[in-house]
Amino acid sequence: MEPPPPMMDWTLRTVLLTVSLLGAAAGAAGAFVLLRRRALLGDVMSHAALPGVAIAFIVTASLGLTRSLPALALGAALTALAGAWCVSWIRRQTRLRDDAAMGIVLGCFYGLGVALLGIVQSLPTGQQAGLTHLLLGHVASMTSSDLWSVLAGASVVLILTLALFKEWRLLCFDEPFAQAIGRPTRRLDAMLMVALGLVIVVGMQAAGLLVVVALLITPAAAARACTVRTGSMVAIASAIGALSGAGGALLSASAPDLPAGALCVLVACAAFLVALVVGPAEGVLWRALRRWRLEARVRREHLLRAMWELSSPCERPATTPAALLRRTPVALATLLQRRSWSGPRLRALIGREARRGYIQWTATRDAVTLTEAGSAQARSLERIHRLWEEYLTRRADIAPTHVDRDADIIEHVLGPELVQQLERDLDRRGGGATA
């Protein structure tokens, strides 16, 4: 690629900085809105900003003033906040749910905006041209004044996030509790809406409605898939927002016939998909992998334990521990009846364990034998199985929920003393682990 002319470079830098800042602020605010289960509120508020612009225009025009950007922005922010308030009012007063309240507010406020713009068009001032374009900026046509307004708005939002992090987290997690311990939940919610409104107003002017809505929702959703902690979720959402903004701007600079705003959205979306697939907390890949591993483990344990239970020591009585590990062969037909597995699957399982050296086919290939290593493995599985059984039986009143009952770590979960106790109980009851 040819080196860009210096002017381009400067524009690109402005755009990069602005969109990244916007993305960072939107990510942070969006994370809390998502945690409050109102992810689409940003969408609602950005549509609700339209009547504010029209009203501000009508008011300034009827006062005989010229069109001023701050006045329009103020109007937009005010009706956006009014929209957010209406959503919560409808929810409180009517028992309709959030989605219905948001749909009503979005449609009707935007409709009001369209109707008011219709009135604006017939005003005799002649300044109305491009009014909606003022509201809906484009990433490509960004100016340094956009940079300053985004810088100011984003700083306020990020400072608010840092200052109110603890309170907002509580508000999102358990509003009634926050209320009960005397936190001003209404005011905290209002602060969150103000942050959201700020992002929306500065962002819409700089980058357009689509970019703001997407940057409010998508990075937060991506971050949600990455972590289970609020702090890191907000940080990650912020980072993904900034990176998507920067990525979109850079991509569109390298391919000039691609719209920068849409690219920001698509980069954020790609980040979301990546997070969804490989996100450490909820990643689809890890979930599938965990599930697959568990299935394999369960099948393997079933096989080894079944072999252990169906076989007996070769020499009787088995006097030494080593003698106990030399087992009689088990017929394939017997094994097949033992569990709900099909013939081919059982053969595959046996094949895998044979490669590991735990199982051997007999010469006739209609029966299998545990090797000594396999016997040792099976015996230990059987012991752990019995210990868990003993634990769950004796402590039927408590279920160790949310504990990964990975058989190998029973000592870690229950503690060595309890395990010893359980083993003593098992021995006393004659159901010893080596039975």
Binding site: L34, R37, R38, A39, L40, G42, D43, H47, I90, Q93, T94, R95, L96, R97, D98, D99, A100, M102, G103, I104, L106, G107, C108, F109, Y110, G111, L112, G113, V114, A115, L116, L117, G118, I119, S122, L123, P124, L210, V213, A214, L216, I217, T218, A220, A221, R224, A225, D257, L258, P259, G261, A262, L263, V265, L266, C269, F272, L276, E282, V284
Partner: protein, 449 residues
């Protein structure tokens, strides 16, 4: 500018198109409402863009039917994507919709910009249809054996959409209701809630596409959300709700369009008429508000009245109890003390005065004295009932629920006002106390001697 005259052959058609669009939207909107998926309407209106652009780029034609088909396909695809993200990948419902539709819209924008050198497509002409222009875009329909009619093209399209929605809702009423009400049970009895989900997504996409071509996407969102919600405020049954939504649509269209013609010129001489679609959306919102205010059972006005009546009754009973307790201690009650007591309970002066006056009117208290308030004999009987209920509750809560005596007063104060005769009798049978935990006598039930 004076209000322009009503032109039946233009304004009549505009109202008809608006009403048809509203009616067609209100039906799938109602299903979205009861499923908690209203914002799907907003998502669809954005998500159609790649479908429109794709149809246009693929066929190089502006045939509206092709574009509508493309729009419907990408609308359904977006809703499906959102459902998959939500159901199988556990993404928050709103976020799933938001991610899906912004991505679809962005893809649509890229397609349009990429294709811009080859074709000239302005998405706004599809996305922001003008209701005012519908009477100009006409088609002629000839019915064999009858005359041929010239109607706005939007009318037959919306009519078909409305009929399809109505028929599907009628024929599959029970499946749609079941999978919305209890998807788990629907799955258990083999009613395939996912198929029903897909069907509803298709309905929403079809209606949105049919409607925003003539009335604009934003009106679609408003109609999908506000009309069914208004109907929901009026009834707590699904069938009537499905019929009331379209009825509200007719009202919204008439009032909305007339307001668009009349209100701006009336407000200022300098103004002409404004966007009918926007105005109808606003009226739909106001209709919802009105329904929410006046609705039976759930109406805000009714609820506020009920709450006030309950507050007043509690104030009356509190006053009786206060007087009775003072009498028990042999003290007359000064008005000042009453005022202080109610201030502690955070009851306003107006409610307190209303309580005193109401009790005085029904002869339960004697409030003729400037300084004091006295219980009459009848009032004394009524008060002893309240006190009895309160003290029985206190005893019950200490004895049976093992609460500490100093903790039961507040709970008993809440319960005493809602204790009917039957509950009081049951309460008395479960507590044999004659003395409450604070050592006061529990008054006997005078009705039973």
């Amino acid at each position: 500018m004076p209000v322009r005259p009503f032109i039946p052959e233009i304004d009549g058609w505009i109202i008809a198109v608006g009403a048809l669009a509203g009616a067609a939207c209100a039906i799938p909107g109602a299903w979205l409402l009861v499923r908690g998926r209203v914002m799907a309407g907003d998502a669809v209106t954005h998500a159609v863009l790649p479908g429109i652009a794709g149809a246009f780029l693929a066929f190089q034609s502006r045939d509206p039917l092709l574009m509508l088909a493309g729009a419907a396909v990408s609308g359904v695809a977006c809703l499906l994507l959102a459902v998959v993200l939500e159901r199988t990948l556990r993404v928050d419902r709103g976020a799933a919709l938001g991610v899906a539709f912004t991505a679809f819209f962005a893809i649509g924008l890229v397609m349009i910009v990429q294709g811009a050198d080859r074709v000239d497509l302005d998405p706004s002409c599809v996305l922001y249809g003008a209701l005012e222009l519908t009477p100009i875009d006409v088609v002629t329909i000839s019915v064999p054996g009858l005359d041929s009619f010239t109607v706005p093209r939007a009318v037959p399209i919306l009519l078909v959409a409305l009929v399809v929605c109505g028929l599907v809702s009628w024929i599959l009423f029970k499946e749609l209701r079941l999978s919305a009400f209890d998807p788990g049970f629907a799955a258990a009895i083999g009613a395939r809630p996912l198929v029903v989900d897909l069907l509803l997504a298709a309905l929403v996409a079809m209606v949105s596409v049919a409607a925003f071509e003539s009335v604009g996407s934003i009106l679609v969102v408003a109609l999908l959300a506000a009309l069914p919600a208004g109907a929901r405020m009026l009834t707590s049954r699904l069938g009537p709700m499905l019929l009331l939504g379209p009825a509200l649509a007719v009202v919204a269209s008439i009032v909305g369009h007339l307001a668009a013609i009349a209100v701006p010129p009336l407000a200022s001489d300098a103004l002409g008429d404004t966007s009918s679609a926007g105005s109808i959306a606003v009226v739909a919102g106001l209709l919802f508000l009105a329904c929410a205010l006046i609705g039976p059972e759930r109406g805000i006005v009714l609820r506020v009245l009920r709450e006030r009546r309950l507050r007043e009754r509690i104030a009356r009973e509190e006053l009786l109890a206060l007087l009775w307790r003072s009498q028990e201690r042999g003290l007359p009650v000064q008005r000042v003390a009453v005022r202080e007591h109610f201030q502690q309970m955070a009851v306003g002066r107006r409610v307190m005065m209303a309580a005193i006056n109401a009790l005085a009117r029904s002869g339960l208290v004697d409030a003729r004295d400037e300084q004091r308030i006295l219980l009459t004999t009848e009032g004394s009987r009524e008060a002893s009932r309240v006190i009895r209920s309160h003290r029985l509750w206190e005893s019950y809560l200490t004895e049976q629920a093992s609460l500490r005596p100093d903790h039961v007063h507040a709970t008993a104060s809440r319960l005493e006002h809602v204790t009917g005769d039957a509950l009081a009798a049951q309460l008395a049978s479960e507590t044999n106390a004659t003395i409450d935990p604070h050592g006061h006598q529990i008054p006997q039930d005078e009705a039973r001697g």
